[in-house]
């Protein structure tokens, strides 16, 4: 049993995971038994009834009603068990308990934005307090995505026109991956996030000052991480090649032309403005498609990005 779970299933990290895995393992046993019957019969018959010569005679048996009823009804009975069990365990996972901790999640190509009850926001990382059920209300700003936490065995499509939701209760604090499971284009496979199930103290600290490891991290490194995790990577390159937005290579200190005809030297202030109010000045040769990150990035991250851009010579 444990062997099968290890072979096929990721770690069980939510109360629901165990429930789903029990059904999974039951079906696995049903499958093993049926497969062995089919394979053994086929192999046995092939050996036992191997043709001996052209004069072999075979019985002319056209059917056998009892046998046919038996081998229809027994499988029917088994699949009905699986059906009811699968449906019943699905229904429990549909309705979040009333005292759930509630987070809003918005998906867009190709990042996850989260908003907490107190208005705090974060990108691609979700912090939730340990010991409480969590309800995540999902919506999309563009195409379909899917919110998939493999270790919690929950998944839901994220739609542009309707709210969907998932809920889970983690069984141990820790860090878990969030993957986008509905194909959404170029960076679908990089639309990852992290779910941190925090102890009370960690969670409060997160709300106050962002994740703990930011404190010790050199600003440029935090900037690099922000670049990768907040989705800047999908529009800005580091090697000078033109993407949907300008490359960051060597821009610090250079002078940029804007579509309105003005120009400016790229310095700390300009970078900050570009992040908080990207539509303010639009670089010549580009469209104003960059979303604002005001309120999405914490002070530390913006400083980190500035330091990081400075370091890209």
């Amino acid at each position: 049993m444990n062997f099968l779970e290890r072979l096929f299933l990721p770690p069980q990290a939510s109360t629901h995971a165990k429930v789903v895995d029990d059904v999974f393992i039951f079906v696995t046993w049903v499958n093993i038994i049926f497969f062995v019957i089919v394979a053994a019969a086929a192999i046995f018959f092939v050996i036992k009834y191997k043709r001996r010569g052209p004069n072999d005679r075979t019985p002319h048996v056209t059917h056998n009603l009892t046998l046919e009823l038996v081998w229809s009804i027994i499988p029917l009975f088994i699949v009905m068990i699986i059906f009811f069990w699968g449906f019943q365990t699905y229904m429990v996972a549909r309705i979040a308990p009333n005292d759930s901790f509630e987070v809003q999640a918005t998906a867009k190509k190709w990042l996850w934005a989260f908003e907490y009850p107190d208005g705090t926001r974060s990108i691609n990382e979700l912090h939730v307090p340990f010991g409480r059920p969590v309800r995540v209300v999902l919506s999309s700003e563009d195409v379909l995505h899917a919110f998939f936490l493999k270790d919690f065995r929950v998944k839901s499509d994220v739609l542009p026109n309707r709210y969907t939701e998932v809920w889970f209760e983690a069984t141990k604090p820790g860090e878990y991956v969030l993957q986008c499971a509905e194909y959404c284009g170029k960076d679908h496979s990089r639309m990852l996030g992290k779910v941190f199930v925090d102890n009370k103290a960690d969670y409060d600290r997160f709300i106050a000052e962002g994740p703990a490891d930011w404190k010790t991290m050199p600003p440029a490194e935090l900037g690099k991480m922000t670049y990768e995790q907040a989705g800047c990577v999908s529009c800005h390159s580091l090697d000078g090649s033109k993407g949907q937005g300008p490359s960051w290579k060597g821009i610090y200190g250079s002078t940029h032309q804007f579509v309105d005809g003005t120009s400016q030297v790229v310095d700390e202030n300009y970078i900050r403005q570009s992040i908080e109010n990207p539509q303010g000045k639009i670089v010549k040769g580009y469209e104003g498609i960059m979303p604002t990150y005001q309120g999405l990035l914490r002070e530390k991250q913006i400083n980190g990005v500035i330091a990081y851009i400075k370091s890209l010579k």
């Binding site: 086929a42 075979t58 002319h60 056209t62 899917a146 739609l159 496979s189």
Partner: protein, 552 residues
């Protein structure tokens, strides 16, 4: 009667008889032919060419996935390649494969008919297929499409590229499929040999008939859906676009209303082939003829009512999910019944493991895995975890490739001597079959494991923990690719033989297509053959049709 056997080993006669391959051989004769056998071969060549292309794309995808980094394709290219792989394999290969290629060739012969009911429509359907294929190729040359073969909105209505052209290609290909379906339904109703009632039909005919019904009833929905999607893209009519009051999930309902029955368009003909091969190589009448025949029809019918099982995570209502899951399990039963029937046919048989039988056994095991792993996906809570992961990819490859394609290959090996009058090297063909079997399992068992471990599908890069499965799967894909190329080589090299050496009925079959010479004459039979024994009656010796035709 005495010389009946010598007339169809025509190498011995002084004047070699012309057959459908040697009579009227100009290019024009081929391109305007209304002979179902030639059209069958033309379809066979076309679908095999696309199988090769789709397979080559799959090998590229697997190679890119060897490491989580970019190896040689960027993610945008990868997305186009997997879209093409899926679209080509489904619309240009599997759907037409068994019905249009083998069905065309075999069906009229099995019924003792001279041709299908509407030979010109048959030719038209081939050219409609070609037109659809050209449109699809144009869409590829025009930049490629990155929507996935499922064309889900709103991605498909907003992404760049010739999506409209591709969707219209699918629309046109649908017509080809409908024409073939209509033709086969009419043929089965009208052109059966004297004495051949519904329950003397070979089971291949039952399977193709059930398939044809689905083709006629379901494909129009695909056509309409494709048109609506194109209109949405071009004119923003607001059917699927949420901002205009439409519903993107509606597209999924429309799409799967066709595409789930399409799964049966793909698998029923595969099962139909296996129902021919197993009795012939067990020299025993098929067990549960009616059960197999009726199960085809009931699968075709219930198959229309289960489409929502592709959408358990889409936000559809819980009641809908429950009903769809329930019906999904019901449709599993007739498929299971077929497996028992095949096994019971082998019981106490006189089993000869020739190449087609080896494919049939390979099918039995792979299809069993494909079907059984479906049991996970019908359990809604488990499906929530597995949906859109590699588990589903592995599951449908076991059904479509391990099922349909293996059966198709078995069918090709079975009817090859009838088609060309020449026998391939069976030893080498057996080895190729084994290599395919092993390569296939290595490729897709790995995908089951990584899928249930949580690896989503359509991913260009992935978490490091999945790499070991990807390496295994990629190595498997090379073995599989090698096996397929080898099988093709073995078959094709048999054509270089100068003489028709296969014999008219090399496997000792009892169905009617074996009663004429190999390769058959243009009009199939000398005179009208008459049914004298059931399709799987191995108590009587096989008799050539020419005897009844009164030529001797």
């Amino acid at each position: 009667m005495a010389n009946a056997t010598s007339t169809h080993t025509h190498t011995g006669t002084s004047q070699p008889q012309l057959n459908y391959l040697t009579e009227n051989t100009s290019l024009k004769d081929w391109l305007t032919t209304i002979d179902h056998k030639r059209l069958g071969l033309m379809y066979l060549a076309a679908v095999m060419a696309f199988f090769f292309v789709g397979g080559a794309l799959a090998l590229l995808l697997r190679l890119e996935l060897l490491t989580p980094k970019q190896d040689f394709m960027d993610s945008a290219t990868y997305n186009k390649v997997f879209t093409l792989h899926g679209a080509i394999m489904v619309f240009l290969f599997i759907i037409p494969s068994v019905p249009a290629a083998l069905g065309n060739f075999v069906l009229p012969l099995m019924l003792g008919a001279k041709d299908v009911a509407f030979p010109r429509l048959n030719l038209a359907s081939f050219y409609v297929y070609c037109l659809g294929a050209i449109m699809a190729l144009a869409a590829i040359i025009g930049g490629g499409v990155d929507t996935g073969w499922t064309f889900y909105t709103p991605y498909s209505t907003t992404t760049d590229g010739p999506v409209g052209l591709m969707a219209m290609a699918v629309f046109v290909l649908g017509f080809s499929s409908i024409f073939t379906g209509i033709n086969f339904v009419a043929t089965v109703h009208k052109l059966r040999a004297p004495g051949m009632g519904w329950f003397q039909l070979p089971l291949f005919v039952w399977g193709i008939y059930a398939t044809a019904l689905i083709q006629v009833l379901a494909t129009p929905v695909l056509g309409i859906t494709a048109v609506l999607m194109v209109m949405e893209r071009a004119f923003h009519i607001g059917i699927f676009d949420a901002r205009l009051g439409g519903d993107p999930v509606l597209f999924q309902h429309f799409f799967w209303f066709y595409s789930h029955p399409a799964v049966y368009i793909m698998i029923l003909p595969g099962m139909a082939i296996i129902s021919e091969i197993i009795p012939v190589f067990s020299k025993k009448t098929v067990f549960g003829y009616r059960a197999i025949g009726f199960s085809s029809v009931s699968i075709a019918f219930i198959g229309f009512l289960v489409w929502g099982h592709h959408m358990f995570t889409s936000g559809q209502s819980d009641l809908a999910s429950a009903i769809f899951a329930f019906l999904t399990y019901l449709v599993a039963i007739p498929s299971g019944i077929k497996i028992w029937n095949w096994l019971a046919t082998m019981y106490q048989g006189s089993i000869e493991m020739r190449t087609p039988m080896l494919y049939a056994m390979s099918f039995l095991l792979l299809f069993a895995i494909g079907g059984l792993t479906g049991l996970y996906l019908g359990a809604i809570s488990v499906d929530i975890h597995l949906h859109d992961t590699y588990f589903v990819v592995a599951h449908f490859h076991y059904v479509m490739m391990g099922g349909t394609v293996i059966a198709f290959l078995g069918g090709i090996h079975y009817w090859w001597p009838k088609m060309f009058g020449k026998m391939y090297n069976e030893k080498l063909a057996d080895i190729a079959c084994w290599i395919i079997f092993i390569g296939f399992n290595v490729t897709f068992l790995n995908q089951f494991m990584m899928g249930s471990q949580g690896m989503p599908r359509r991913y260009w890069t992935y978490l490091d923990e999945f790499q070991r499965y990807h390496i295994g799967s990629t190595i498997g894909s090379w073995i599989l690719g090698f096996g397929l190329v080898m099988a093709a080589g073995v078959l094709l090299s048999s054509l270089r033989k100068k003489e028709y050496d296969a014999g008219d009925n090399p496997w000792g079959s009892r169905t009617m297509e074996w009663e004429t010479i190999s390769p058959p004459i243009t009009h199939n039979f000398e005179g009208q053959p008459v049914l004298r024994h059931g399709p799987y009656d191995f108590r009587v010796e096989p008799t050539p049709a020419t005897v009844a035709g009164g030529r001797h």
